[in-house]
């Protein structure tokens, strides 16, 4: 550092430069947020206003406030570090400057070069970012990015060299090299070596919203999911499997407990934890057997399964109410560029490997983290859920427009495109499991948690006898919004036994009526586990051949709460928040939870149905008739007009028995029809 009068001036100038840089970077962020608002047509404040307008008296909690404060402090510190880097980069240029005006111009040039580099890199790595407007220009090309990076890095190192002694500078460079080399050399692929060879790995893979009819085994011919199709072509596939309730948390709770929602208590996403049975016998038993139990999910807005449910570890973004706010305001270049670095897990726990922030989500990074978390010597129980196929269908990269797939249905078009992406993710995940030896002895289940409906013509239910309009809606958008829309309830379920990396169970499509609750009893049977005396499963052991199928089996489904703002072709997040925010409270932990009083009220509004062979019988609280649906020919009937031979009495009896005592069930006294029909 210079100690003459000129040097003293330079020191003063550096401090001033730092403050000026900070001020300019703050202005830069404000401009970007405003630009984003112009493009998107809605402001950040209107989004927050939508939450606060819900008159939720407990919308703020210590946990939520802490999460938001942490996020903004990290953002501020990062910009402060950036400002220091810019200021240091100006130092060598200031030594060349003849007067203050030129110094200011050097400074402004360096700041603008840094901003340009950041925007260009953001556009290159995250082209779907709302502030990625440089994406179609030469400035987001690699040669420009590398050139500008080298220039600015050179200026920074020169500035650092002038600031530090020669020895300190050398030490800094050496440390930086060691850290980078250490990180790069740590990227090795470990191999699984089982200590206990009697215990296979148990792997349950869930794909959010995957519809069976979009896969080859159900006749889809457009080859949207070659990797999934390949897996299913070697597995035992259970055709006509239904989700107990078409919401992720409830479906997974049903799967992991082997019980219907009425039994385990999780009737909605974000159900109050104190009203839910967290007893998961499989997790408990496998923990006792020395398994490492892992639950992994790349979006946790609606699914709060965590270590309190018995798992050893949870992989995925942090769960909490701050997720919704942070993912909506985070599309800024500095955040985007840091989000896929290892330090992001600490800096941005709500954004790291979070599919809900789709613009920066890299599926292979989630896969990598899940695989890295698995034990390489103990057997693993892994339940992993991939969420890319869920609304809002955002993606880090553009996808080639396909006029063949375009039918004017926006959601369905995007859904089909995202199937390709989640299919790649699944294929890569299976390959990596195999490479690491985790499939040398493994039981693998592939499931989807629910379907999705897009009001496709082919999905519409018909009724030849009803003339004119009926008050019954036979179509809906989304999932768990209408229990008689079959595409919402039907899911994928397949089983495969792996030995030495290859599936050994013979492929077969088993025709029957199955439910996700069947997986737990099947695993208990295969792993030779036993329930405690006071425990039981609602599910049944899955058959391995068609001859073993129980033809008397009935399975039950129910809907979620009615939300008009999601039953639409264009979901507006503000409207959803506005309609639903008052239903939830934010607990001290920072998590949003349904208010217990409302939770019980909403159970009354549930639609409930039973499946038996090709038939569905539904009881809808807002419709006076029982509805009978033939799922084969897509015909629906008001039960009072029905003249056919469907075994509706048996179905109604089972539906009434299953839901007996449930809040609001059968307020129209339809269960009496069973007794009347017996008397007649």
């Amino acid at each position: 550092m210079s100690h003459d009068s000129m040097g003293k001036n330079t020191t003063v100038s550096m401090k001033r430069t730092l403050w000026r840089t900070i001020a300019l970077l703050i202005l830069f962020i404000i401009l970007l947020i405003n630009y984003r608002q112009l493009i998107q047509g809605q402001s950040l404040f209107s989004f927050i206003a939508a939450i606060s307008s819900a008159k939720s008296d407990t919308s703020l909690s210590t946990g939520l406030l802490w999460d938001l404060v942490y996020f903004f402090v990290v953002l501020l510190v990062l910009h402060l570090i950036w400002a220091i880097i810019i200021t240091l980069s100006c130092k060598p240029l200031f030594h060349l400057a003849a007067n203050e005006n030129i110094k200011t111009q050097y400074w402004l040039s360096v700041v603008l070069m840094h901003i340009t580099l950041l925007l260009a890199a953001n556009a290159y790595f995250y082209p779907t970012s709302l502030v990625g407007f440089l994406r179609a220009t030469p400035f987001s090309e690699p040669y420009f990015l590398i050139g500008l990076s080298l220039l600015l890095m050179g200026l920074f190192l020169l500035g650092l060299y002038q600031l530090m002694t020669k020895m300190s500078f050398m030490l800094f460079c050496l440390s930086a090299t060691v850290i980078v080399a250490g990180y790069l050399s740590s990227e090795r692929t470990p191999h699984f070596i089982a200590i206990n060879k009697q215990s296979p790995n148990v792997i349950i893979i869930g794909i959010d919203a995957l519809r069976p009819d979009h896969l080859a085994y159900r006749g889809a011919s457009n080859n949207l999911a070659p990797q999934l199709d390949h897996f299913l072509s070697q597995a035992i596939v259970y055709d006509k499997t239904y989700t107990p309730m078409g919401r992720t948390y409830v479906a997974w709770m049903s799967l992991l407990t082997g019980q219907y929602p009425k039994t385990h208590g999780a009737r909605f996403n974000l159900a109050p934890p104190e009203l839910v049975t967290k007893n998961m016998p499989l997790i408990r038993e496998l923990n006792q057997r020395g398994y490492q139990t892992t639950y992994a999910m790349d979006e946790r807005r609606f699914n709060h399964i965590d270590k309190t449910y018995g798992f050893n570890q949870i992989i995925g973004p942090q769960a909490g109410a701050a997720d919704t706010i942070i993912t909506n305001i985070s599309d800024l270049p500095l955040i985007n560029l840091l989000i896929n670095t290892p330090i992001s897990k600490t800096l941005f726990p709500y954004l790291y490997i979070n599919r809900a922030y789709g613009k920066a989500y890299v599926p292979s990074h989630f896969n990598r983290d899940v695989l890295a978390s698995l034990s390489m010597d103990r057997p693993n129980l892994l339940a992993v859920h991939f969420c890319m196929l869920h609304w809002p269908y955002t993606s880090k990269d553009f996808v080639t427009p396909d006029p063949v797939l375009w039918q004017g249905n926006y959601n369905h078009f995007l859904y089909q495109q995202l199937i390709k992406q989640v299919d790649n993710q699944f294929g890569q995940f299976i390959n990596n499991l195999n490479q690491q030896g985790l499939l040398n002895d493994a039981i693998v289940f592939l499931i989807s948690d629910h379907g999705d409906s897009f009001k496709l013509d082919k999905d519409l239910l018909q009724n030849e006898r009803v003339e004119g309009k009926t008050s019954l809606a036979v179509s809906a958008w989304g999932h768990a919004t209408n229990v008689i829309v079959q595409e919402q309830n039907e899911v994928v379920m397949a089983y495969s036994r792996f030995k030495k990396g290859k599936p050994v169970s013979e492929h077969v499509k088993i025709e029957g009526t199955f439910s996700l609750v069947d997986i737990m009893p099947t695993l208990f049977n295969e792993l030779d586990l036993e329930l405690s005396n006071d425990e039981n499963f609602d599910g049944k052991i899955l058959p391995l051949t068609n001859e073993l199928v129980d033809r008397t089996r009935m399975v039950f489904v129910e809907s979620s709460r009615p939300v008009n703002s999601i039953n639409t072709s264009f979901i507006d997040e503000k409207k959803v928040l506005s309609e639903t925010a008052a239903t939830y409270e934010v607990r001290e932990s920072g998590r949003a939870v349904m208010k217990p009083a409302i939770y019980f009220n909403l159970i009354e509004e549930k639609q409930r149905a039973v499946y038996f062979k090709a038939w569905q019988l539904a009881m809808l609280p807002n419709y006076d008739e029982l509805v009978l649906v033939n799922t084969t020919n897509k015909q629906w009937h008001n039960l009072t007009n029905y003249q056919g031979d469907a075994p509706w009495q048996k179905m109604l009896s089972a539906l009434c028995e299953h839901n007996r005592g449930d809040i609001g069930f059968d307020h129209l006294d339809k269960c009496n029809l069973v007794h009347q029909s017996i008397e007649n």
């Binding site: 112009l38 493009i39 998107q40 047509g41 007067n99 005006n101 030129i102 111009q105 402004l108 040039s109 603008l112 070069m113 901003i115 340009t116 925007l119 082209p127 970012s129 709302l130 407007f133 440089l134 994406r135 179609a136 220009t137 400035f139 599309d331 613009k359 269908y393 955002t394 993606s395 553009f398 996808v399 080639t400 427009p401 006029p403 375009w406 004017g408 249905n409 995007l414 009001k455 309009k469 008050s471 019954l472 809606a473 179509s475 809906a476 919004t481 209408n482 008689i484 809907s559 009615p562 008009n564 703002s565 039953n567 639409t568 264009f570 507006d572 509004e605 639609q607 809808l620 419709y623």
Partner: protein
């Protein structure tokens, strides 16, 4: 031999560089905004894929592969007349 450059000349060069850097960023941003204005329809459900690409930044095409933008009228979204976006609408999903 040291070439001495006039401070005035350096100032001019730096002014040009600053203007250039501003232009590099402002022109594409403005162009992007103009595209958004041109493609924005009043009713969301009668918009096009291109509008969603511009305004949501998530889909469907890059400008390198811009058929959905150039031929945006081939990618119009069909209206769903049963959409219930009004939160005062108290009908349930099973009601028409």
């Amino acid at each position: 031999m040291v070439i001495k450059i006039s401070p005035f000349f350096i100032q001019w060069l730096l002014t040009i560089l600053i203007l250039l850097l501003l232009t590099i960023n402002i022109v594409p941003a403005w162009h992007n905004y103009q595209e958004k204005i041109a493609l924005t329809s009043e009713i969301t459900s009668e918009s096009s894929l291109a509008e969603h690409y511009i305004s949501r930044g998530g889909w469907p095409a890059s400008k390198d592969n811009n058929s959905a933008i150039v031929h945006y009228q081939q990618y119009l979204i069909k209206t769903d007349k049963t959409d219930k976006t009004d939160k005062t609408d108290k009908r349930l999903p099973t009601q028409q």
